[in-house]
């Protein structure tokens, strides 16, 4: 068998790893967006203490290497009595880490939004979460799609770090095929192509959102 044949014969391993990576990525994306939206609402809200706390959290997370963060979550927290499965630690890590970036991107976009947008909504009796969801958020997303897409690609690539806490994702699959058969190149080429495929899909979605934005005279025109 050639090295490539070995790699292809192990396709179920790659498929499982790919599936795990994709699931981790999608769940963490949803989590990071939900918390990011909550944070940006707090940052633009009236509670001064909550605002300060969220600001410190965002700055703190952004200064922390992701690898150290997940390492602490999985190997460090059990020593203070909190233990979770590798899978849970992975999703929690990705979500808590990247929500800080998502919040920061949304905050930046909100700061560029003319204040009249919210005023016009308030003047008509809009308020609270519904106003955020219908008037503010769509504009934040349309105006920052490329940067959000970039962040999603970072998040996708950060899933590879979860190998060190034994999550059996795509990089783990490549690595195990490599060490079983001593084929150092081909498994990683396969993994790389799959990461590319996912990144290109993200880019594709960004392009579609950007077209939406352009039709409305928004975004990076």
């Amino acid at each position: 068998m050639t090295d490539w044949e070995i790699v292809f014969s192990e396709w179920p391993r790659f498929a499982a790893g790919f599936g795990t990576t994709l699931t981790l990525f999608l769940l963490s994306t949803i989590g990071a967006f939900l918390i990011g939206m909550l944070f940006v609402n707090i940052l633009y809200g009236r509670n001064r203490i909550a605002r300060k706390a969220v600001g410190i959290y965002i700055d703190g997370m952004r200064m922390l290497p992701f690898l150290i963060f997940v390492y602490l979550l999985y190997y460090g927290l059990p020593s203070v009595g909190i233990s979770m499965s590798a899978w849970t630690a992975g999703i929690v890590g990705l979500t808590l880490y990247h929500c800080a970036y998502v919040a920061e991107i949304l905050r930046g976009a909100w700061s560029q939004l003319p204040s009249g947008q919210a005023e016009a909504a308030r003047a008509q009796g809009h308020h609270g979460l519904r106003m955020f969801g219908r008037i503010i958020l769509p504009q934040l997303v349309l105006n920052s799609a490329p940067i959000l897409g970039n962040q999603l690609i970072y998040m996708l690539k950060d899933t590879a770090f979860l190998m060190i806490i034994t999550v059996q994702e795509l990089t783990y699959a490549a690595s195990s095929v490599q060490s079983m058969y001593f084929v150092p190149l081909e498994p990683f080429v396969v993994a790389l192509l799959l990461y590319w495929l996912m990144s290109l899909s993200i880019e594709g979605i960004v392009l579609i959102v950007n077209r939406f934005a352009k039709e409305r005279g928004l975004g990076d025109t």
Binding site: A120, A121, Q124, H126, H127, G217
Partner: protein
């Protein structure tokens, strides 16, 4: 005569109807700058009133205090006798209570503030469906009538981005009207427009006035104040200096400040 209780609205003298809009002793400072000082304003139902004054006189701030986009430092606002912003006991209203009373006032801004991610029609039906809970069909029917009224039926499915300033402002007026407001507030509605586009917006406002809409218009358009309004309020340095019928105000201003203002603008 007994002095009126400052925490309750006063009633018009001709009958026992409350004023459409009433501001009592409004004070507002930005930092150390006092923008409004003890401003009183009463707007009887059906009146078209313009607020004139040099820039910095506080007229836009007063309008923004009326629907609580700015929070007055002190003073009371009443809409048709109902308190705005503060409950009768003086406590600030919750966001929900405030939203409810704001929904009864329409506001048109200098910079239009249409929502760019919505089409023209979506802009107009947004608050009726989302805030008033009107059915989509009913809101669309009403919106189509209003868009026809402002002459923009054929633009219903385009995005605001492709409209001229005058068209945007007419959509903004239709958007406010679709809530069937008791009062319309206009904050310098033509100040951001090219001169040739001002007329189309003023024409819509003139129609509204002739239909008996209660309107408060902060403006620099002297011809509108003179020809369309029933009352003119002149503000200077955060105070109401004069209030008169336009014919009197423009031909015979009582104060020196108003005279100076008129020689400059009118």
């Amino acid at each position: 005569m007994a002095t009126p209780d400052p925490a309750s609205p006063t009633e018009t003298q001709e009958d026992t109807q409350p004023y459409a809009l009433e501001a009592q002793k409004i004070c507002k400072s930005f930092g150390s700058v006092e923008v409004l000082h003890d401003v009183d304003l009463t707007v009887p139902p059906g009146t078209t009133m313009s607020i004139l004054g040099p820039s910095g006189s506080g007229k836009s701030t007063l309008l923004r205090c009326i629907n609580w986009l700015e929070t007055p430092d002190s003073g009371r606002i009443f809409l048709g006798g109902a308190p705005v912003g503060r409950r009768p006991d003086g406590k600030l209203m919750s966001d929900r209570e405030l939203a409810k009373v704001r929904a009864r006032m329409g506001m048109v801004f200098q910079s239009f503030n249409l929502w760019p991610h919505f089409t023209v029609l979506q802009n107009v039906i947004e608050a009726p469906t989302q805030v008033l809970g009107m059915s989509k069909d009913a809101a669309i029917a009403r919106a189509e009538k209003l868009l026809e009224k402002v002459g923009l039926s054929e633009k219903r499915d385009v995005y605001p981005y492709s409209l001229s300033g005058g068209q945007k402002q007419r959509v903004a007026i239709a958007r406010a009207l679709c809530m069937s407001p008791e009062v319309m507030l206009f904050d310098e509605p033509t100040s951001a427009l090219d001169p040739e586009l001002i007329g189309e917006v003023l024409a819509v406002m003139r129609d509204l006035a002739s239909e008996g809409m209660t309107m408060v218009v902060v403006t620099h358009e002297m011809s509108f104040a003179r020809d369309v309004c029933e009352e003119v309020v002149f503000m200077d340095k955060g105070k109401v200096v004069e209030r008169a019928a336009p014919a009197d105000f423009f031909s015979n201003p009582k104060t020196e400040r108003a005279r100076q203002f008129l020689t400059r603008y009118a």
